[in-house]
């Protein structure tokens, strides 16, 4: 009997020693918790259920065009589908773009810039104050034609103005009408981030000088497969070539000759910093370029 007691005592002692090594009580409601069968086999079949293929949307771009004669817009309002750039530093009326009606009933956009402020970037580049844009997409075709009409008014102080197409923030091809009303063509730029040298694109002079109080139509063409950009002026239905050449290096990936051409997706009108005044816009259109 004594031996039996001693045996039981020894067993209990061993149990006690074993228990003193254990952790303190952890679970507040241990009776409500049951051990997961997957604790030790988290990746096993029956525990882990891999995702099925996720239902992702297509990344193929959707192409769309522009056809703006502004005739359905509201007078004295900014036109729909257009973005007029401003930041906190701009005065309330520092830049304006609003619909106006001509004597014959035609609606067009009156544009004003005070020339005082500009976007912060690119720094050290001739960044314009007035930036008025709308977008299109011809990323599959990679070619297209854009039109726009400009009127330089005499009834109010006029301004230098440019209009054309851009790849994002970088000009592709545009016409620049100076305060002397001479017409230049600008290809590419600015691509300041890359060169660090104030690269503002390349500007070409033309033989044309505009007259105030007349509508002038311009046409821009681009074709990435031909590496070609063009600008035309249309006067009395007669089209005159202003410039024809290759895409500027700033329209290529990393501004490298070997880089892929990046096609335009923005129709852009700008007026420069440090000059103030008005100009008018009408008939903006982007259409597909045939074969």
């Amino acid at each position: 009997m004594k031996k039996r007691y001693i045996f039981v005592l020894l067993i209990l002692l061993f149990m006690l020693i074993g228990c003193t090594e254990g952790e303190p009580v952890e679970d507040s409601n241990p009776t409500e918790m049951t051990m997961s069968e997957c604790r030790d086999t988290p990746l096993a079949v029956g525990c882990y259920i891999p995702s099925t293929d996720l239902d992702h949307i297509s990344t193929v771009p959707v192409e769309y065009l522009i056809d703006e004669n502004f005739d359905t817009e509201r007078i004295n309002q900014a036109p729909r589908n257009w973005l007029l750039y401003k930041n906190e530093e701009y005065k309330a009326d520092g830049v304006k773009a609003m619909i106006a009606e001509a004597d014959g009933g035609n609606l067009f956009v009156k544009m004003y810039s005070d020339g005082l402020r500009a976007p912060a970037f690119p720094q050290s580049a001739p960044t314009p104050t007035f930036i008025f844009t709308t977008k299109f997409n011809l990323d599959i075709d990679r070619k297209g034609i854009a039109y726009g009409s400009i009127w330089i008014p005499s009834e109010v102080p006029s301004n230098s103005i440019s209009l054309g197409v851009s790849t994002g923030a970088v000009n592709t091809i545009s016409v620049v009408i100076g305060s002397d009303l001479k017409v230049n063509v600008k290809v590419g730029g600015p691509f300041f981030y890359y060169s660090g040298s104030g690269d503002g694109g390349t500007e070409y002079q033309t033989a044309f000088t505009l007259t105030k109080d007349l509508w002038y139509d311009f046409r821009f063409e681009w074709d990435a497969s031909l590496n070609e950009v063009k600008a035309f002026i249309i006067i009395d239905n007669v089209e005159s070539l202003l410039y024809s050449g290759e895409f500027h290096i700033s329209n290529k990936v990393n501004a490298e000759e070997s880089g892929a051409i990046l096609v335009p997706n923005v129709f852009k009108v700008t007026m420069p910093r440090y000059m103030s005044g008005w100009a008018y816009l009408d008939n903006v259109k982007v259409e597909r370029k045939g074969e």
């Binding site: 007691y5 254990g22 891999p50 990046l262």
Partner: protein, 591 residues
């Protein structure tokens, strides 16, 4: 004798049966199906990241920094001319590497760690500059279309690490030689031994120096004036010693010393960190973002436009906040970039104190945190806030900035700043690394208020006694989760663990969508550097009884890319960060 034995038997039986009632699970916590559900979500996320990350370009093991959860494609950096670059910036993926290793630890499967090794191995083999720097960080990434190095700053963007704190343990395992070379060159490229200037930017053309730490350590840059105040030199020629870059330099040096048993790099790290300590305000204890101000190197004409914020025009705070007098200097701002000072740097200091024996760093951390919380912490409308001020306590709250500058537009009113949950971990870890309770009490008091205000409940007295936690808290935050896990780990009070489980469940419910962890249901990108999955695995490890010291440790999630890009409107150029332009996109922004 028989009677005595009987009494003894009864006593022993009583002793054993009382605790044994509860100790059926004493050797391990109960790991429930709910616990497994969280792990299941993490595994699915990781598997999807690996699947879709690898799928994009099968010629590489590299994966993108973030995945578009609507398309499964990589996030892309869009340059001003629309050029789009799907990017892998390995510096920005450190929490994912930690997640992979942690996942192998908790699942017992090597496959996740092997993925980490494979990705890191390809990167280290192919994308280390001859001078030792890796092509990663703030201005360099790998283009996943071409597998070439892409710069976002210019054709030759510099090397820049700001609080990225690479997973050196893994890198050492993958390629020790390349890792050591990088750690040494990090100092050669960023630290100017002759002038003690430090530049956040390092050049890839700086030659590798085999004797990088061979200089003798110079005198301190910071000396005191007659009143005992630090004199901040204003002679830095554009080489601004931002603490976020210094944190990475110091961390690399400590890791290097720890690995090589050469104490000299660690001494340099201590020297560098000491400059920030010396530049701290002696009254408030608050510390600085940089210990030098910049030298004016540009002409007055160039700098006449306040919107031109190049540091060559002088101290940018002095320009924009000149109404505040001499305290208005970039080093002294205590309402912006404070994450770099009071979170990332503190976590590194504490890591160095804990792992590398630099015990006085824990004292510095306490001084900084106590000073900052005492002066700048405030609870407003039931929310944790920071009072905007300079480090001497001069409050800028309510000030309307008269002109545009580096810190924002004109007419900007300086207001309280939300205190993010990221502050929880540095405060807690600072407390836990103090030796005496007396040194813990002040911070614990703030910590208790802050945790309560985040909606987690009352953590109780110092040491974890008598908590009254909000078991149904709605917070879904990884830092709150890691805080509760580490509190539990320290105190073994199960109340913290129960709240941790609630927070973990909240994270999965609120952030696991479309097969990925995202910041919230509507956010477009799943970012690899997000800390949620690592936090969930930390909880999982504790529930399995894995020692937290055996788990990859959270240090930062500050990875970013900075450079020129197309702004959100798609028509003007901007210079910004992935965090501001890309990771803010929602599923409704996707065209």
């Amino acid at each position: 004798m028989k009677k005595m034995l009987s009494i003894l038997l009864i006593l022993l039986t009583g002793l054993l049966t009382l605790p044994a009632l509860n100790l059926k699970a004493a050797d391990t916590l109960v790991y429930t199906d709910s616990d497994y559900a969280r792990l299941h979500a993490v595994i699915q996320h990781v598997d999807n990241v690996l699947k879709y990350g690898h799928e994009y370009n099968e010629d590489t093991k590299l994966i993108p920094d973030a995945i578009n959860t609507l398309t499964g494609e990589p996030a892309r950096w869009t340059f001003p001319n629309r050029a789009q670059v799907p990017y892998a910036d390995i510096a920005n993926q450190q929490n994912f590497f930690r997640t992979l290793v942690a996942l192998s630890n908790v699942t017992g499967s090597d496959k996740y760690k092997n993925e980490a090794v494979d990705i890191m191995g390809e990167f280290m083999t192919n994308y280390q500059s001859p001078n030792g720097l890796f092509y990663w960080g703030g201005h360099r990434a790998i283009n996943l279309d071409t597998l070439e190095v892409q710069s976002t700053e210019g054709p030759n963007g510099p090397h820049e690490l700001k609080n990225m704190m690479p997973f050196y343990e893994l890198m050492m395992e993958v390629d020790e030689e390349r890792t050591l070379k990088f750690m040494r060159q990090l100092w050669t490229a960023h630290f100017y031994w002759s002038t003690t200037d430090m530049n956040r930017h390092g050049s890839y053309s700086t030659a590798y120096d085999t004797n990088v730490f061979g200089q003798s350590i110079p005198g301190d840059v910071i000396v005191m004036d007659n009143d005992g105040n630090p004199i901040i030199p204003q002679d830095s020629p554009g080489l601004l010693p931002f603490v976020n870059s210094a944190t990475d330099l110091a961390y690399a040096a400590f890791a290097l010393s720890n690995h090589t048993f050469d104490t000299v790099p660690a001494e340099w790290a201590k020297y560098l960190m000491r400059q920030y300590n010396l530049a701290s305000n002696p009254i408030t204890g608050m510390t600085v973002y940089q210990f030098k101000s910049t030298l004016v190197s540009k002409s007055p004409i160039e700098c006449s436009d306040p919107a031109y914020t190049n540091s060559g025009c002088g101290d940018r705070v002095a320009r924009q906040f000149r109404d505040f007098g001499v305290i208005a200097r970039e080093p002294n701002v205590a309402w912006k970039n404070t994450q770099a000072i009071y979170v990332d740097n503190i976590l590194m200091l504490l890591e160095a104190a804990d792992k590398y024996g630099v015990s006085h760093f824990a004292d510095w951390a306490r001084d900084y945190m106590e000073g900052y919380l005492e002066y700048a912490y405030i609870r407003v409308d039931g929310r944790n806030k920071i009072i905007p001020m300079f480090i001497d306590g001069t409050v800028t709250y309510g000030y309307v900035v008269p002109e545009v500058g580096y810190f924002g537009p004109s007419n900007m009113r300086i207001d309280y700043v939300d205190m993010p949950t990221t502050y929880l971990l540095p405060i807690l870890r600072t407390i836990l690394q103090q030796d005496n309770d007396a040194d813990k009490e002040k911070l614990w008091s703030y910590f208790r208020d802050i945790v309560y205000t985040f909606g987690i409940g009352d953590i109780g007295e110092l040491g974890g006694a008598t908590p009254n936690l909000n078991i149904d808290t709605s917070i879904d935050d990884p830092f709150a989760l890691m805080t509760m896990v580490e509190l539990y780990d320290e105190t073994k009070n199960p109340a913290y663990l129960e709240v941790a489980r609630t927070i973990g469940n909240n994270i999965v419910r609120e952030k696991f969508h479309r097969g990925f962890f995202v910041q919230s249901e509507i956010m477009l990108y799943s970012r690899l550097d997000q800390p949620d999955t690592l936090a969930l695995l930390t909880l999982d490890a504790v529930l399995r009884g894995i020692d937290l010291d055996d788990m990859p440790f959270y240090l930062a999630d500050s990875g970013y890319i900075h450079g020129y890009l197309l702004s959100d409107d798609g028509v003007v150029e901007d210079r910004s960060y992935t965090q501001n332009v890309i990771y803010t996109k929602t599923i409704f922004d996707w065209e």
